[in-house]
Structures are given as structure tokens and as C-alpha cells.
Symmetry: C2
């Protein structure tokens, strides 16, 4: 954790909650003392036990106080019988006890000075029963007395900078980054955290807030908008508590940072399903679309699109890139790139004759094309040629960004012919350097598409090499997408956001 | 090859070419004697050499006659100096010599009785030069005298039933299936063949026809429409030779078999790029959309969508499935499924109270939901429970098909806790059996979604297990998609096609 937990993180220490007094977010996201209620001695198979192990695996450096009425020891730590027995004040409580025991536990945590508590347990308003609703009402009452609650029925907080993690995820990335994610759904949050790890999306913090009895979308959005650790805000909402206030916060946030929103439950059947999921009210497809657009937020349709948009926002410069060059091997790929680009409002301008001629000098005589898209014809085009083409193409003033498409599966044949492992045949580190160098020298970002058509059991070495290549590209600041279409769609979101911001947000 | 090449395949032996005399397709797709022109003794690194090796690797059981002016031996075969020196008549010629030498070679093949020739070489009309165009003109003249030509500037034929394969692909699937693919682009054809292998799309034959100097989209479409080996026709076109005739053939074909079309070059820039690719003229986005719809063809926007549509058409029964049940772990997934289903015009009807109650009896008390979508809450729900839910849900008359969503990455935690490899922890064979059994017992197809959020270098074992699971599901007749959205989109294509066909194709 590189000592990041030793002092409070940058960002606002306190913000005013919506009439709920002050919230000490730094003690919630970067706690030095965490109580975990619900840890039995058979802990490996218990919720609370998994949480303790996950915190340890994530490198959380503060103190952990496991709590269970039976006492004992777990994973090198003394188990306290009651919250009250913990010898120190606590910053954050993680509550994973049965629903009926939650209110008393929460109250005890409040008395122990906790700034916040995440309630992992379910069995509240999402059940639709009077008992569930009553228990959730009690949670609200206690929260109003001065402890901020995340949940219930949630996965809580993932914050790589402090080592907090979602329940079943001791192996999320420990690297921090600019993307924050707020999610009503724990599954969505956990999936995004897992996907982000290999895709290269790095997070400042994630909050899965489930039923959102206390802290939820609007208030957390206002916090993130001021949070110095967060540069991009992503949001999964099913329903919102106070539409008007949410819209105001969204507008405010989008004026300062890109905000990417996935709205679940847009359909009638989806609306029905979400009532049993987090007890929210849904909304209409058209209304949501126009609300999000008016607020200046970026709307996406699924988690893949969200992750890709966040990758683009976090790795590309904060400006629109309207004109593109596309370089790859294979004419149909270039044609497809043009078709998608036009659909997404992106221009792929034809190169002037002199530039075409210069690029032609780097290409094989037969089968290649130096127009934009550039068809290098040979899938084994060496890194220095790729670098040369990128440097030349960047000379065209209309080019703001370049996309390089790699088809690594073609190296299978080269590897076979040469009798070498495919991982040694693909010069992916040199390609990564070639792209980084071109981007740095020309000031125009380069995006890589790593497409792999061979993904069966006999091609796992190619799958592995593609993943290694992805990491090498990401390490050098080159964002990676699996399909050209994905790259263009993400770029279209970046363009739409910064174009709108540049126009001063007039509605 | 299970002796498949020993006799000519079923299907029409001869069909009338468009004014070009008779075409013996069975000698072209299932040849017993193939000449490969352009095989040097340094063959491993030559085009022609790779082709010979690929044919051998694919298990082609007929005779191969390598040809090169220098003579010698290659891979256990005598190299003939000239086509004329081959001691027997040939069925098919594969021509991979320099462009200038192509016409003479082709004429020699014609005289040797070849029914067809695939010309892999480039350097013809796609170059845009008078020389290139003149050479292609010569090819047309020779073809008109009685040898059918595929190409030039193409990858030729992939036909798993006979062992013919594209150039750089000795490792394409050797299993035959119902999907035929015609493609102007060799890259697209090769990518589809590679993707199909692990996705479970099996091919009767693929033809990459490149510049299409002789045999091309319209004539091949008419052949496939009668071909007994082909049940689904897929098509990648950039431009067509004779729009009216193509449209007529498309209409005819779509009335008999599902036809899936990917049109490249819909944009202005895409149109520009395709001129240098295969020397075709593009077309307008709106015109193509309406033409394809009128013809009753299914239009897709990229190769992924095409492959997924072909998987659905080849594995699902030939009818529309309007009402669905969706079963999975996690509320947000169900909500997303509903949102996409509505978008694609598919219904996910809410279950009646008694059915809900019966399903509830199989689910955990907390966090689950027995409405449709069914949220099983626990990602480790055992196969027999999954089977039970599927059997119950099929009892609702409105359900035509069921989607089961698996999130195998959750098993990582189980595997860690149990100290076992993740591959042993996921009962994927039992899941496959549970789904196959439910489909067979109820007569309602079951589709699996195998979603894996953990795909980084430390999770390659999970990637491998997911691939093994995919094959186990496919082996039991259960089509597999990576995302629920993909499954629903493919299903929407199936529904649109059969609904239209059921309505008697009135325009």
C-alpha cells in the first residue's frame, strides 16, 4: 500500500450531509481502526471472516477488531465479544450480523465514535416485509444521530488506497486511480472492480450502497465532485431518492468531472425486477435519457460500455478528438472502422497525396493502402514501421488521435513455422514502446486495439500473450480495447462530454 | 476426416452459372486432386508451401500436386515443374504465383480439366492500375472458357468436410456444420473461421472470393440456397456486381434459409477505403438497410454480431421465441436482461403466484427473487436446483426459451477457501447436463450465458475453465454467449426472421 493509509488522504475532510450533520469521509474511506462485526471462529466460511481475510490480503495497514459474541481468535486477531469491549475508538464498522441484530450493533459502533458503518447484511426493505422496513427505519434513526451508514444489503467500500475491499474480493487491484464508482448493485460494483483490474481502469473508491438507507447517490456524488482522489465519476443507479436534488448534483458534478451513468430498470419488466432488488422506483427510458443529457452526463447501456468509457476518460487527454487515423492489417477492418466512426460522429479524413506517398514508402508494394485507414497488409509489420507510420500520420493537422489495430492471432502461423512459442514471436513490448514513443513525440494520443480471434483451449498461450501485451501497453500509457468499435464508442463519449463542456453547457 | 472426402458430398452436382456454363461445385468443394501452383522448395516460408502444409494438417485425403518451375520435393511430395506435367487430370487448382504468371497458369489448369481454381495472388484490379485491371480481364476470359475462378486477391475455400482451408490456417476446425459464409474479405473470413471454432459455429463451407473476377456473391448465393450441406447462409459484402440480380438471389435464399448479412463500407470514408480493398463500389447506409429488410435477410453490424446470430440460427429450433425466462445470480443482471429484452422486442413475463411459490421453495430465503427474472442470489446454486427451476419455469405457457446466466468468477473465492483449483470447483459438466436435461424434458431450449469478469494474467485458470465449460455446454446442444445482451440480440434476429417467414413474406 506504499504507506498510503498512514495519513488521511487528500480531499475534503468534512462535508455537510443533507441535514444530517458533518460526514468525516476521510475516516470512512481511509480508516485507521475498523471493527468487523460477525466474525465467527469458523471464520473462513463466514461473511465477517472473509472480510477480515480480504482486508489482510488487500494490505490494509490499520487495526482490525473482529467482533463475535463467542469470542476467541481469528487469523491472528483477538475476537471481541461486543463492540463495547473494543479498547479504542473506531473509525469504520463493517457489520455482517443477522438483520435483527443490526440496529443494536450499529448503535454500539456509533457510541464507539465510528464515522461510518457499512452494513453488508440483507433482510431489510428489499424483502418487502413490514419487519424488513421497520428494521431499516431503525437504521435511519441511528444514522441520523451521527454515524453515516452505507447499505444495508450491499458490498460496502472498495478503496485500493486504504485497503478496503468488497466482501468476496481479496484480489482486487491494489493500485489507485482516478475513477470512482457509486452503485446500488453490489454485483455490478464487484464485476466492474474485477473487470477494471485487467482492463486498466483504476479506482479511487467504489461504494456499493445497496438499499441506501442513509448515504446514497446524491450525497456521495457531491462528495466525489470535491474529492481530490477522483477525476472520473461512474454511477449505476436503479432508482433515486430525490430526483430533483439528484439532477442538481449530477449537473454540478458533470460541470467539473466526467460523469458516466448506467441506469438500470429502464424497461417495464426491469422496473418490476428492481423493486425486489433494492426496493427502488425505476423510471422511463426516454425521461432518463433526456435528464442525463441535460445534466451533461454520459449515458451508457451496459457495464462493458461503462468500463470502456471510464478507461478512455481516465487515460486520454481532457479534450475532444474529432479526427482520427486508423492503422491496421486488413482492408475490411479499415472499412468497418470507417462505418463505425461515421455512426459515432468521428471523422477519418483521407490523407493528402504527399503524406500518402511518404507512408507508402514504409509499406509493402502489394496489398497495402496508405490512405486513411492505413492498411499495412502484413500482420507482421515490425514496431519501427508502425512507429514511422504513426509519426507521419500525426503530421496531418486534422488528426487528433490515432488507433492502431493489432491482430496477434496471425502470429500463430509465424510461431509454428519458426518452431517457437507464440509469446516469444509477438514483439508486444516493442509495439508498446513504438506507440508510447509516437504519442509522446507527436503529442497526439495513440490507442491500441488488441483483437484476438483465437481464444479456444488450444490457444490459451495466445490469450495469455494478449493479456501480457495489454498490460505492457497500459503500463506505457496506451489504452487498450478489444474491438475497434469499442474504442470508437468510448471516444465518442469523450468527445461528446468535452465538446459540451467547451460550449459552456448551454442547454 | 472420417472418410468424408472419399465420395462427393450431397448437394447439387451441377448448377447453371450466370451464362457461364455449368459449374461442378462438388469437384470444387470436395476435390480429389488438387494442384498447388507456387510451391518452392523453401516452401515453409512460401505461400504455396504453407498451403500444402495446411491441407495436410487439415487431413485433406485427396492427392496434392505441388507445382514450381524449379521442381524438387516438398513435404513428401514431388514438385512438378509445370501444370502440364501433372500425370492426371485435376479437380481444383490453388494458384499462388506472381500476378503476371497467373493467366498462363490458369489456362494450363483449365486444360488439365480443373472445375475451378482459387487465385490467392494479389496485384489485380484492387491495385487500381491499368496493368492490374488488364490481368484481371484475362482471368475473366479464361474463366469464361470453362474453369470457375475464386479470387484473385482472396483466401479461397475453407471446407472442413473435404479438408480445404484458408492459407494461414492449418488449425481451423475439422468439424462440419450448417453455416456457410461468403466473404469479399479474406481477413473477415479467416477471423470468422477462427472465432467459430471456439464459439461453436460450425461451417459447411466458406468462400473468400476477394475481387470476385468470376464466381462471386450472387452466383454462390444461388448455389448455397440449394446446397444440402448448408442450413444458414452468412455473407460479408462490400459491393455487389449486379444489384438487381443480387437482390433477387437474396430474396430467394432468405425464403428458404436464414441469411445473415454484414455490409461493409456503409459510410463515406468506408466506401473510400473499400475501393482500394477489393475494388467494389459501396452504397448508402439507408438504402442497404431497406434492401436487406425487404429481401428478408438479417442485417448485422459487426463480425461478433454475425457469429452470435449464426450460432443462434444453427443451434436453436427454427421458430420465433417471444417469451423468455431469465435465471441468474444478482438482481442487477436480471434488471439489465429486462432492459435489453424490451429494447429487442422480447418479453420476460412475470410468473403467476403459484409458479413463483414453487420456485421460491428451491431458493434461499434471503436475497433471492422467484419472479421472472429469477434471482438465485447464491452464485453457487447447485446444478440440480438450476434444473429444478428450469423445469418449473417451462411450465408457464408464455415461456418459449430460457436463459441461464452463470458467473463463474465467483467460484474463485470458493476455490480459495477450499484450497482447490478453480477448475475442480466449478461443476460445469453437471451444469451442462442440467441444462440439456431441462431443454429435452420440457421441449423449450435453454441458452447459457458464461460471463467472466476475471480475465487477467492471474486468472488464466478461470479463463481456461470457462472455455472448457463452453465446450461442455456446446457438446450438449446448449448455445453459449458471453453476455446476456449478446444472447438477446441474437435471439431477436432469430425471432425477426421466423416471424417474417411465418407471415408469408408479404412486403
Amino acid at each position: 500500500m506504499k504507506g498510503k493509509t498512514k495519513s488521511a488522504a487528500p480531499g475534503p475532510l468534512m462535508t455537510a450531509g443533507a441535514g444530517r450533520g458533518y460526514t468525516d469521509y476521510s475516516r470512512i474511506f481511509h480508516p485507521r481502526r475498523v471493527a468487523v462485526a460477525g466474525v465467527s471462529r469458523e471464520g473462513v466460511f463466514s461473511y465477517g471472516g472473509s472480510l477480515v481475510l480480504s482486508l489482510q490480503a488487500m494490505g490494509y495497514e490499520g487495526r482490525i477488531f473482529p467482533v463475535n459474541p463467542k469470542g476467541g481468535n481469528f487469523s491472528g486477531l483477538e475476537i471481541f465479544r461486543r463492540i463495547e469491549d473494543i479498547p479504542e475508538n473506531i473509525d469504520l464498522a463493517v457489520i455482517a450480523v443477522g438483520a435483527a441484530a443490526v440496529p443494536d450493533t450499529l448503535e454500539a459502533c456509533r457510541k464507539k465514535g465510528a464515522a461510518g458503518a457499512e452494513i453488508i447484511s440483507s433482510g431489510f426493505s428489499e424483502t418487502g416485509t413490514p419487519e424488513g422496513r421497520a428494521l431499516e427505519g431503525k437504521i435511519r434513526e441511528i444514522a441520523a444521530r451521527g454515524i453515516r451508514v452505507i447499505g444495508p444489503n450491499c458490498f460496502g467500500i472498495y478503496c485500493p488506497g486504504s485497503g478496503l475491499t468488497f466482501l468476496p474480493n481479496p484480489d482486487l487491484s491494489r493500485q489507485s486511480g482516478p475513477v470512482a464508482f457509486l452503485s446500488q448493485s453490489g454485483g455490478m460494483a464487484s464485476d466492474f472492480a474485477n473487470m477494471g483490474k485487467w482492463m486498466g481502469v483504476r479506482f479511487s473508491k467504489m461504494v456499493s450502497f445497496g438499499n441506501g438507507a442513509d448515504l446514497r447517490e446524491t450525497e456521495l456524488l457531491r462528495y466525489l465532485l470535491e474529492d481530490g482522489e477522483t477525476g472520473v465519476i461512474a454511477l449505476y443507479v436503479e432508482g433515486v431518492e430525490d430526483g430533483e436534488d439528484f439532477f442538481a448534483a449530477l449537473r454540478e458534478a458533470a460541470r467539473k468531472k466526467p460523469v458516466v451513468v448506467l441506469k438500470g430498470g429502464l424497461s417495464r419488466a426491469g422496473g418490476r425486477a428492481l423493486i425486489s432488488h433494492t426496493a427502488s422506483l425505476g423510471g422511463d427510458r426516454v425521461i432518463w435519457k433526456s435528464i442525463l443529457k441535460q445534466a451533461g452526463a454520459v449515458q451508457v447501456e451496459d457495464l462493458n460500455e461503462m468500463a470502456q468509457a471510464c478507461l478512455a476518460f481516465s487515460m486520454l487527454p481532457p479534450r475532444a478528438c474529432k479526427g482520427l487515423s486508423v492503422i491496421g492489417g486488413g482492408g475490411a477492418l479499415g472499412i468497418a472502422a470507417c462505418d463505425f466512426a461515421e455512426f459515432f460522429g468521428i471523422d477519418i479524413p483521407s490523407f493528402p497525396a504527399d503524406l500518402k506517398k511518404n507512408i507508402e514508402n514504409l509499406l509493402p508494394r502489394s496489398g497495402a493502402s496508405a490512405a486513411n485507414p492505413v492498411d499495412v497488409a502484413n500482420p507482421y509489420t515490425p514496431p519501427e514501421t508502425v512507429n514511422g507510420i504513426l509519426r507521419l500520420a500525426a503530421g496531418d493537422d486534422r488528426i487528433d488521435l490515432q488507433i492502431m489495430i493489432f491482430l496477434f492471432h496471425h502470429f500463430r502461423q509465424i510461431a509454428r513455422t519458426a518452431g517457437r512459442p507464440v509469446g516469444e514471436t509477438i514483439p508486444f513490448r516493442e509495439f508498446a514502446e513504438a506507440l508510447e514513443d509516437a504519442a509522446k513525440e507527436t503529442g497526439k494520443p495513440v490507442v491500441a486495439v488488441l483483437s484476438n480471434a483465437k481464444r479456444g483451449l488450444e490457444d490459451l498461450d495466445l490469450v495469455e500473450t494478449t493479456e501480457k501485451a495489454r498490460q505492457a501497453f497500459l503500463d506505457r500509457g496506451v489504452p487498450v480495447f478489444e474491438e475497434t468499435r469499442d474504442a470508437l464508442r468510448a471516444l465518442a463519449h469523450v468527445n461528446a462530454y468535452y465538446t459540451r463542456r467547451g460550449q459552456g453547457w448551454d442547454e
